[in-house]
């Protein structure tokens, strides 16, 4: 049984697994980018009251493997609170928190490093604060942050695989189930790798292209 035979034979299950993976990823991306963007801007604006606690949380979180964090949300936290939460929701909450702090870190750094001189130049050229924001600040901030944000989102897509370990029926769990039936680990996990390559490589390529294309035009030489 070849890789393609497995994909052909179990395509329904694989597609269902992919749909769950994408659903999970979409929610994590949406809320992570939204909340992380807001937290990053707030951290840059209110450095002490929001920036310091946010950086502390981010620092602590960076010391905990994502898998441990996810498991902690799934078992100890629910035991402490004496609640049972759907594993899909648990995965959404845990991975969104991770994504949010990674996005916030990136946004805060980009904003903190934004060269004030470009705003000064806009002022003395007579641009209004709103024109400066839309014509100068936002384009430069987006150019600086989008490649990094894309890379983080690709990593988060890959991190959704951990959700299989708390019983979320995403693509990795489906692959494990197929493997338990056919017992062809090389072919099954190669098929999984091919699927992820098809999804992640273009995104990584896009991030690299954006980085090479735009970030050199962010700072004055």
């Amino acid at each position: 049984m070849s890789v393609f035979d497995i994909i052909a034979q179990y395509h329904v299950g694989l597609i269902q697994g992919l749909i769950v993976t994408f659903k999970l990823a979409m929610i994590i991306w949406f809320f992570g980018l939204l909340l992380g963007g807001v937290l990053g801007c707030a951290s840059a604006r209110w450095k002490k009251s929001i920036g310091v606690p946010a950086r502390l949380c981010s620092f602590l979180l960076s010391g905990i493997p994502i898998l441990v964090f996810l498991f902690w949300f799934h078992y100890p936290m629910q035991a402490i609170l004496n609640v049972v939460i759907d594993p899909f929701i648990t995965a959404v909450v845990a991975l969104t928190i991770v994504n949010m702090f990674m996005v916030a870190d990136l946004i805060r750094n980009v904003l903190a490093e934004f060269p004030d001189q470009y705003i000064t130049a806009a002022k003395v050229c007579g641009l209004s604060p709103m024109q400066t924001l839309f014509d100068i600040q936002l384009p430069l901030i987006l150019r600086q942050s989008i490649p990094g944000l894309l890379m983080i989102q690709v990593n988060m897509l890959q991190a959704t695989l951990f959700a299989s370990l708390i019983s979320v029926d995403e693509i990795f769990r489906v692959a494990q189930r197929i493997n338990s039936i056919v017992y062809r680990p090389v072919e099954v996990f190669t098929a999984l790798a091919i699927l992820f390559l098809i999804i992640c490589l273009p995104l990584n390529g896009l991030a690299l292209w954006l980085k090479n294309r735009f970030t050199r035009r962010v700072f004055e030489r």
Partner: protein
Amino acid sequence: MLTAENIYKSYGQNQILKGIGLRVKPGKITALIGPSGSGKTTLLRCLSMLEAPNAGEINFDNKTYRFPLDAGDKIIPPWPDLTVVFQQLFLWPHLTLRENITLPLKRTGREQELEHLESLIDLFNMRLFIDRYPDETSLGQRQRAALVRALALKPKFILLDEITSSLDVEQVGLILNELKAMRDRGIGILIITHLLHFASEGADQIVFMDKGQVIESGAPAILKNPRTDRLKQFVSIVEAAT
């Protein structure tokens, strides 16, 4: 006329400007010279109203700005009628040189000046590189673009902060010619420079600053015959170094 009277500026306990008075006339080049740390750039930032002086008065085009401001008062600086070109140029890196020049024209309702842009591009010999991004051009080319960006806005006064500091002799000569052309258009120019020959050849008035005060000012001849010992000492040190 752009005038400053009794300007004081301090950062914390550090008093940078101590009662400075200065007059920049339209159609004239005023060169501001002095040792590093004498307060030249701070004075330029105060004159351009990028920073509010702690005390004093700035008069631009018959409008008086008094400092300190009363509580709740906000100044509306006369940008871009009064504009600045900085040492680091601050060209926006995501725009081509042409876009750097045209963006302020479009945003400040000066679209009619776009017609004259081509002649400015020719005057400053920028045709070959006008559509390149700043990181694809040399420092001298960017310097010209920064000047044209300011000039295209048809300001009444331009303040220039050390714009010749990284240029070679030939490029300094070019910039000097361009400043003279700007002066002939009636623009008042204040230039901070370390190049005494540049100041003596191009300026109509020299202002020498030290330790936050104007020590001596007058026609370029003061560089040859300084009245004060401090300017005499400064000139001899600079000439010995160059």
